[in-house]
């Protein structure tokens, strides 16, 4: 029944949930939360259906359907998934119910608007990853700013949320408008904005260089790459828990998706030309941000900086332009989406109880919160790249791919694994081990059932990806092979 229009249903379900939410009065906050959560769970089930029906043997776009047509300009907008976008859609629909469940008790004002913002965000994110048109990718890319800005500003923690919201908004906007100019140039020189057509067109060398740089300006802010990464620690630490989860989980991956879908296939010569630039910035990101983490006192900021480091690995993997590297970066994006989100959820658990994220107030949590400490340890090890978790598999693939391309970069990036271990273990040591410190905090409570349910799917997913990644890599193989062939 859903076969022919599964993507439209995926986008329409959250919007339907928004309409439902408008009719629920404010004296019934439980119903509001329930409706939001059920809608997002239904969307997740629908996307599992998408995965099951996905044909893994072809690199062509599947489930293609017409979104709408613009009159007088011969633009027909299609939606479709291939091996690359499938997993981003799945990641989005997986994380949104977790976000909504995680903010069950901590959001006390404007509950309905919160669920509406997240459902709207989900709909727009699915549009970003499935639309087969450059202009509409840009439109939805920018439209993500609106709910995120409101989420950070309205429900964020008190101190620096306004500065964080501004920085997030303006940084992303500056980069994006340069991408808009590049898209306009593409539109009027080629007469189309359809991705399927554009991937067959070759631009001349100098044009490619300029267009690649314009796209890079926007995607580099989003990924984020040093030096335009400054908005990330601010936005992550000031956003509410669920906001950080979706920010780290999916929004950073929009940049990676942009690279894989646009920069590399449409401008292959420019990608090869600028590979040293990307490598340099990524390696700087890995080493610099890992070392910066050592100075931080705010737990969320540590995890935010580690996100930048992981995304540095991702960009190294993508620009190796061989199959192992790109598969590694895709898997790393998925793994980081789950691991970073889970780490933010862990910090969120502690923040909900004691309203502070500063490390100095916590020590020896293992004594009173053993279940939480186990979960926290698991995700810290996953963050480090411990074998058996998904990060290990993906980082290994990235390094193998990078080794084929450039040995020096690989060496420097591998040291990043050591720095990663350094700050992760140190964070965990200070917070969970040691003597319990009761000078500031006197009452402790371990995870309750809701929070355990939030972590359980993340743990399962990380173990699954670490032990048997073939399930996920299977669907990607053909699309990524096709991508690499396009570059050659």
């Amino acid at each position: 029944m859903f076969d022919s229009s599964i993507l439209l249903s995926l986008i329409g379900l959250p919007l339907f949930g928004i309409i439902l939410l408008f009719f629920i009065p404010d004296n019934n906050p439980d119903l509001q939360k329930n409706v939001g959560l059920s809608t997002s769970l239904l969307t997740f089930l629908l996307s599992i259906l998408l995965w099951l029906k996905f044909d893994m043997s072809t690199p062509k776009y599947q489930f293609v359907e017409k979104f709408f047509s613009v009159p007088y300009s011969n633009m027909h907008i299609y939606l479709g998934v291939d091996g690359i976008s499938l997993f981003f859609v799945l990641l989005t629909t997986f994380l949104i119910p977790i976000c909504l469940l995680a903010s069950w008790d901590s959001i006390k004002v404007y509950i309905r608007e919160y669920s509406i913002a997240f459902l709207f965000l989900e709909a727009v994110l699915i549009c970003v990853f499935t639309v087969l048109d450059v202009l509409f990718f840009y439109i939805f890319f920018e439209a993500v700013l609106i709910p995120m800005f409101l989420i950070i500003g309205i429900w964020g923690s008190r101190e620096r949320k306004i500065r964080a919201a501004y920085q997030f908004f303006v940084y992303t906007l500056v980069g994006s408008v340069l991408m808009l100019l590049a898209i306009m140039y593409i539109y009027y020189t080629t007469g189309t904005t359809d991705i399927q057509v554009l991937q067959t067109i070759t631009f001349d060398y100098n044009t490619q260089l300029v267009l690649w740089l314009a796209f890079f300006a926007s995607l580099a802010v989003k990924v984020p790459m040093v030096p335009s990464h400054i908005w990330l620690p601010e936005a992550h630490s000031e956003a509410p828990t669920a906001g950080s989860v979706i920010l780290a989980g999916v929004l950073l991956k929009m940049g990676g998706y942009g690279f894989l879908r646009f920069s590399i296939p449409m401008f292959p010569d420019a990608s090869i030309y600028f590979t040293p630039l990307v490598y340099t910035l990524s390696v700087i990101a890995v080493i610099y941000t890992s070392l910066t983490t050592l100075r931080q006192v705010d737990m969320k900021r540590i995890i935010a900086y580690s996100s930048v480091a992981h995304m540095g690995f991702v960009t190294i993997g993508m620009f190796t332009l061989n199959i192992q590297g790109i598969e590694g970066s895709m898997l790393l994006m998925l793994s980081h989406g789950v691991v970073s989100s889970a780490l933010f959820l862990c910090v969120g658990v502690v923040y909900d109880r004691h309203k502070t994220r500063i490390i100095k107030y916590y020590s020896g949590l293992t004594v009173k919160m053993p279940l939480f400490s186990i979960v926290f340890l698991f995700f810290i090890l996953a963050n480090m790249g411990f074998p058996g978790t998904s990060s290990f598999v993906s980082e290994f693939l990235v390094l193998v791919g990078a080794f084929k391309s450039n040995v020096f970069v690989t060496t420097l990036a591998t040291t990043g694994v050591i720095w990663g271990a350094g700050y992760s273990i140190w964070l965990y040591n200070r917070v969970a081990f040691g003597n319990i410190r009761t000078s500031h905090i006197t009452s402790f409570q371990d995870l309750d059932r809701r929070e355990a349910m939030v972590f359980l799917p993340c743990i399962i997913l990380v173990l699954l990806m670490g032990v048997y990644p073939e399930i996920f890599l299977n669907a990607m193989h053909v699309s990524i092979t096709h991508l690499v062939e396009q570059v050659q």
Binding site: F140, L150, Y166, L180, Y185
Partner: protein, 499 residues
């Protein structure tokens, strides 16, 4: 020629303008007779005249909607009616209706008890309608003067406020100065060509670039420069923008709304007609003028608004920035740029209408005042969430964020600019719109992010303002989904002018 030949064709062609003019005169005499009538104890017939003027504007609108879709000229080629002018006239009449609707509550609350306000708005509208369809330099001057004189008086309308008088005086002096420049330029053009009619001028000036060795046309260029500068004064483009913040701040708020919305449309329609149809061959001359003025306006408008504390001054600077974008569209010189310009005008008008209806509709409960300072808007998200969300949509559209209508306006405009290879202007344009985003989202911050402990409660919004606000928000949100009718009309209008 017999006077009666007027009734052959011209009367039918000019029926809507004639109707509006007659209605204005009748309303004027009605107002004078009844408001000075001692027998009826000097009644205050302001709202009465207001609704009657809205009524007559609506009938004029229907008369325009029934115009046949051909090109006609009246008064011995002095006025021309084609699809472009019909489209712009419909837009102008709709905007005037909306401005009248918005001002009713204000006039009632502030007890401005003279009915001439609406007569002046009707006269200004007639001036603008004639301006859009003028085909002759003299017609241009007469229409601009009719429009401007009404504006000068409207700016000074609040007689017990020095602020308003100062605004009117500044506007009058600057406006008279620019009209003088206009006359000088027109007389130079007449002196060097012997023609005042636009169509005959365009026929004379065909292929003038090819004849540049044998024909010296510098005199015409000087005249054209004066005319251009004068029109740029009237539309408040930088570096001729100095009067705009002061006049916008001092004039009563519904008059400010009228200033920001309607004259820009009329003067840009005129600019399109002059430069795309008459003087198109001088493209190499006027393109740099509009390009640099546009870039300067965008920069001045975006940077100037960052420090403003008052809402009306903020809107003045944002108007200057928007005029900058429109001038870039004008500079590009292609059919697509003209369509983009008209589309952007339409969307700009809707955004500004929505914003001003919000300002005019929020009256504080405590002392029945309008909001003057931007910081008066804080915590609106908690006090009146529906209103705050409506304003948020308007503001996101002004920033140019997809998927609202403002993005599409800017997109078409910059697309046309890139097609004409005005790359610098496009880059500066998008960067200045990012700078502009800063002060727009500051308003959202004030409304939602709860930084101030002051909460002001407002009276419920009156019907007229609420309808205007909701109509404009509806347009801005759903333009993305169904732009077909507007794009179709704009395409037809542009093609009818260029071909």
């Amino acid at each position: 020629m017999d006077f009666l030949t007027f009734f052959d064709n011209d009367f039918k062609i000019l029926m809507p303008e004639l109707y509006l003019f007659t209605a204005t005169l009748i309303l004027l005499s009605y107002g004078v007779l009844y408001s000075t009538s001692r027998m009826l104890d000097y009644p205050i017939i302001q709202l009465n005249v207001g609704w009657l003027s809205i009524f007559s504007l609506t009938i004029t609108l229907f008369l325009y909607l029934g115009t046949p879709v051909t090109t006609m000229s009246a008064f011995n080629d002095m006025l021309i009616i084609d699809s472009f002018s019909s489209f712009m006239k419909i837009l102008i009449v709709i905007s005037s209706i909306v401005c009248c609707l918005m001002s009713l509550t204000y006039l009632e609350n502030k007890k401005v008890n003279s009915f001439e306000y609406f007569i002046l708005i009707l006269l200004a509208t007639i001036g603008m309608l004639c301006l859009v369809s003028t085909n002759d330099l003299l017609g241009l001057y007469m229409s601009i003067e009719l429009m401007s004189l009404s504006f000068y008086i409207l700016a000074a309308y609040k007689r017990n406020s020095e602020f308003s008088g100062e605004a009117g005086l500044k506007y009058f002096i600057l406006g008279a100065f620019s009209s003088g420049l206009l006359l000088f330029g027109m007389s130079l053009i007449y002196g060097f060509t012997g023609l005042t009619n636009f169509e005959e001028l365009s026929k004379l000036l065909t292929c003038i670039n090819a004849m540049s060795d044998s024909v010296s046309y510098n005199g015409i260029l000087v005249g054209l420069l004066f005319v251009t500068v004068s029109l740029l004064f009237k539309v408040a483009a930088a570096p001729f923008h100095m009067w705009s913040p002061d006049v916008y701040e001092g004039a009563p708020t519904p008059v400010t709304a009228f200033f920001s919305i309607v004259p820009k449309m009329a003067i840009f329609a005129l600019l399109i007609r002059i430069f795309y149809s008459t003087f198109y061959d001088f493209l190499g001359f006027w393109q740099p003028i509009f390009l640099y003025t546009g870039i300067l306006s965008m920069i001045v408008g975006s940077l100037g608004a960052l420090y403003q504390k008052k809402i009306k001054r903020l809107m003045a600077y944002s108007g200057i920035a928007n005029v900058g974008y429109m001038l870039i569209g004008l500079a590009a010189g292609t059919v697509e740029s003209m369509s983009g310009l008209v589309l952007y005008l339409l969307i700009y008008v809707v955004m500004t209408t929505g914003f001003f209806s919000f300002i005019l509709g929020t009256i504080t409960e405590k002392d029945s005042k309008l909001n003057i300072y931007i910081s008066d808007l804080d915590n609106l998200g908690k006090v009146n969430p529906a209103l705050a969300f409506a304003v948020t949509f308007i503001i996101f559209s002004m920033v140019g964020l997809p998927p609202f209508a403002g993005f599409f306006g800017k997109f078409y405009l910059f697309l046309a600019a890139m097609q004409s290879e005005l790359y610098t202007a496009a880059i500066i344009g998008v960067l200045s719109s990012v700078v502009a985003a800063f002060y727009y989202i500051r308003i959202i911050k004030l409304m939602f992010f709860g930084t101030s402990p002051i909460y002001t409660t407002y009276k419920p919004m009156d019907t007229a303002n609420a309808l205007v606000l909701s109509a404009s928000v509806f347009f801005l949100i759903f333009f993305f989904a169904y732009p077909h009718p507007f794009l179709m009309c704009i395409h037809k209008a542009s093609l009818s002018l260029m071909l």
